[in-house]
């Protein structure tokens, strides 16, 4: 298997006023295609920053970041946006569905950036909802769904454009144990059956254990 994520000598420094705050320091990372990896570490260790760099939401201060065969280091904001739309599926802790849109419309949202026809978009949104087991909730608004169901809609939104990598930031952080287990099972299914590479930031050891690889980050360094 080839590396789908390849970070070399990556550092990221933020600035609090004029004072530099290093978050990641000279970090190397390789993630194989089709892997399911969990990233753990205390708050402020740089987990989300690392995830943002891999997902093309941010650029490293130094070093190189190659993801899905593309070098993100020198990409423009527009190129990064296209990269995210094509290659990355995001799953957030707080689901972040648009409350004014139905489940089907929320899932269809990323497809508005494609050239697909309206009927094709609807078909793909329906398929994605079927994969997460919510075909019967297509017309429901987020407020009419449970937390677990909302997160499943968010997962359908993340997979609807068939991304290469799923980036999950605390996907079970807002859920009870039963719902969390359902979501983790769904992620496993996406990894094993649909061959999606999954990178998951989590504080939950039970969630991390479901991943094939657990990486620990502390003070900007992988342990």
């Amino acid at each position: 298997m080839s590396a789908i994520v390849e970070l070399k000598g990556v550092s990221k420094t933020f600035y609090r006023g004029k004072e530099p705050v290093p978050v990641l320091e000279n970090l190397d990372l390789q993630v194989e295609e089709g892997a399911y990896e969990a990233l753990m570490g205390p708050s402020g260790s740089g987990k989300s920053t690392l995830l943002n760099l891999i997902a093309g939401l941010d650029k490293p201060t130094s070093g190189t970041a190659k993801v899905a065969g593309q070098d993100l280091t020198n990409m423009s904001d527009g190129e990064l946006a296209h990269f995210r739309a094509d290659k990355i599926g995001f799953i957030f802790q707080a689901y972040n569905l648009l409350p004014v849109l139905t489940a089907a419309e929320n899932v269809e949202l990323p497809l508005l950036l494609t050239k697909l026809s309206s009927s094709d978009r609807k078909t793909r949104a329906k398929t994605a909802l079927r994969v997460v087991g919510l075909e019967d909730r297509m017309g429901h608004y987020p407020r009419q769904l449970s937390g677990g169901q909302e997160q499943r809609v968010a997962i359908a939104r993340a997979i609807v454009n068939d991304p290469t990598i799923l980036v999950c930031d605390e996907p079970t952080g807002d859920l009870d144990r039963k719902s969390a287990d359902e979501i983790l099972a769904l992620l496993e299914k996406l990894n094993k059956e649909f061959k999606k590479t999954i990178l998951m930031v989590t504080h939950d050891p039970a969630a991390a254990e479901r991943a094939g690889v657990i990486r620990k980050l502390d003070k900007g360094q992988l342990q």
């Binding site: 943002n52 941010d58 904001d77 995001f90 949202l109 990323p110 508005l112 950036l113």
Partner: protein
């Protein structure tokens, strides 16, 4: 689903706030339409001025009279005219209500030839010409003051002292959209001249001339003024449009102020809408971060915000026009024409005014959202998402 429909749906997210914003905007649109309609009403005399009618007044001022024999000079010496009549401002009061203002004019017998828009029955006109104390009254004024044909009415002179008795010989009507005031009281200049004090006899206020060929109006105007160039009193002759314009010139500063206020009202609406949009954008920072993470570009975010502002302002414009239009056309306008016809002979919403209100509202709504939209577009994705990390 389209990007536009997503933006439009966002307006319904906080229904109470959107409703209040739309109502606030609608009130501004109604105020704008009302003020513009007042301006239109005052300009209707200019807009619908006859092209073949000229007015001649004293060159110094409208309020300084001309010698009566000037009319004979015009009739005898000026070529290319089909009629020439004259009037004088009488300025009498209605004794039952001295505060009731209406134009009462002492005119030549052929005054109605100069204003074919005024419809008077030929038999009534003949009766009036034969009746020294006869008067012909506009239908709006007659209705308002309860005057009927055959009534004896008395006006109390202010410029020409004493009580003046008249008989209402007839009622004239005129189209609403014309320079003719349907609240005027016409009577014979000869009757006024007989009763006027010695120093005020044989004077007229202005001359109304109709030319054979409207394209020759300028030449005829010049020849009339040239006729009196060497006299003690010179004249200023102008088209009816110019004359009505000069009449409005006296209140031009008020009209300008109304014009400016009407636009300021919409600008205030824009600021209110801008504030609402800015609040909504602040509340949805995370959401815009999520959209950016999904691959939407800053331009999409700006379009969402401007689209939402346009939807809200369009709703405000439609509600405002939807309320103002029937209110004026079916109620207020008719009431004003019947009760304040001398100021508002035609008070109806011009469709162009309604369209202008709608276009300006949408345009200002879009402008109001530009600053929040640009700011949201510039926001770093990670900064926007940090609130949920």
């Amino acid at each position: 689903m389209t990007l536009w429909s997503v933006a439009a749906k966002n307006t319904l997210r906080n229904k109470f706030r959107t409703t209040m914003t739309v109502l606030g905007g609608a009130v501004a649109v109604i105020a704008f339409i009302m003020l513009r309609t007042v301006l239109d009403a005052w300009n209707v005399g200019v807009e619908y001025a006859a092209k073949d009618r000229l007015g001649t007044r004293n060159k110094i001022s409208f309020v300084i009279p001309l010698p009566k024999h000037y009319i004979d000079d015009v009739r005898n010496d000026i070529k290319g005219i089909k009629s020439a009549s004259y009037c004088d401002w009488f300025g009498a009061k209605w004794p039952k209500d001295p505060n009731e203002f209406f134009a009462n004019l002492a005119c030549s017998d052929n005054i109605f030839e100069s204003y074919p828009e005024m419809k008077v029955d030929p038999a009534v006109l003949e009766r009036w010409k034969a009746d020294k104390k006869g008067a012909i009254v506009g239908d709006v004024l007659a209705k308002k003051l309860g005057m009927h044909v055959g009534d004896k009415v008395v006006l109390t002179g202010s410029i020409y002292p004493g009580d003046w008795e008249f008989t209402v010989d007839g009622i004239y009507t005129a189209p609403a959209q014309s320079p003719v005031d349907r609240s005027t009281f016409f009577f014979h200049w000869d009757y006024k001249n007989e009763g006027a004090p010695a120093q005020m006899k044989n004077l007229i206020g202005w001359i109304v001339t109709r030319v054979d060929d409207p394209s020759q109006s300028a030449a005829v105007s010049a020849s009339i003024d040239k006729l009196f160039d060497d006299r003690d009193m010179q004249t200023a002759t102008m088209s009816e449009r110019a004359m009505n314009n000069s009449f409005l010139g006296g209140i031009s500063s008020i009209l300008d102020a109304l014009n400016i206020v009407s636009v300021i009202i919409l600008v205030i609406m824009m600021l209110i809408l801008g504030n609402t949009i800015a609040m909504a954008v602040r509340e949805r920072t995370t959401e815009y971060g999520v959209l950016r993470a999904l691959g939407f570009e800053p331009g999409h975010i700006r379009a969402f915000i401007v689209g939402e502002a346009i939807t809200t302002s369009l709703l405000a414009g439609l509600v405002g026009v939807g309320l103002a239009y029937p209110f004026v056309q079916m109620g207020m306008g008719k009431w004003l024409e019947e009760n304040m016809g001398q100021f508002f002979p035609y008070f109806r919403v011009n469709p162009m005014t309604a369209l202008l209100a709608l276009v300006l509202t949408v345009l200002l709504g879009a402008v109001a959202s530009l600053l929040p939209a640009v700011r949201a577009g510039k926001m770093e994705v990670t900064e926007a998402l940090r609130r949920i990390a």
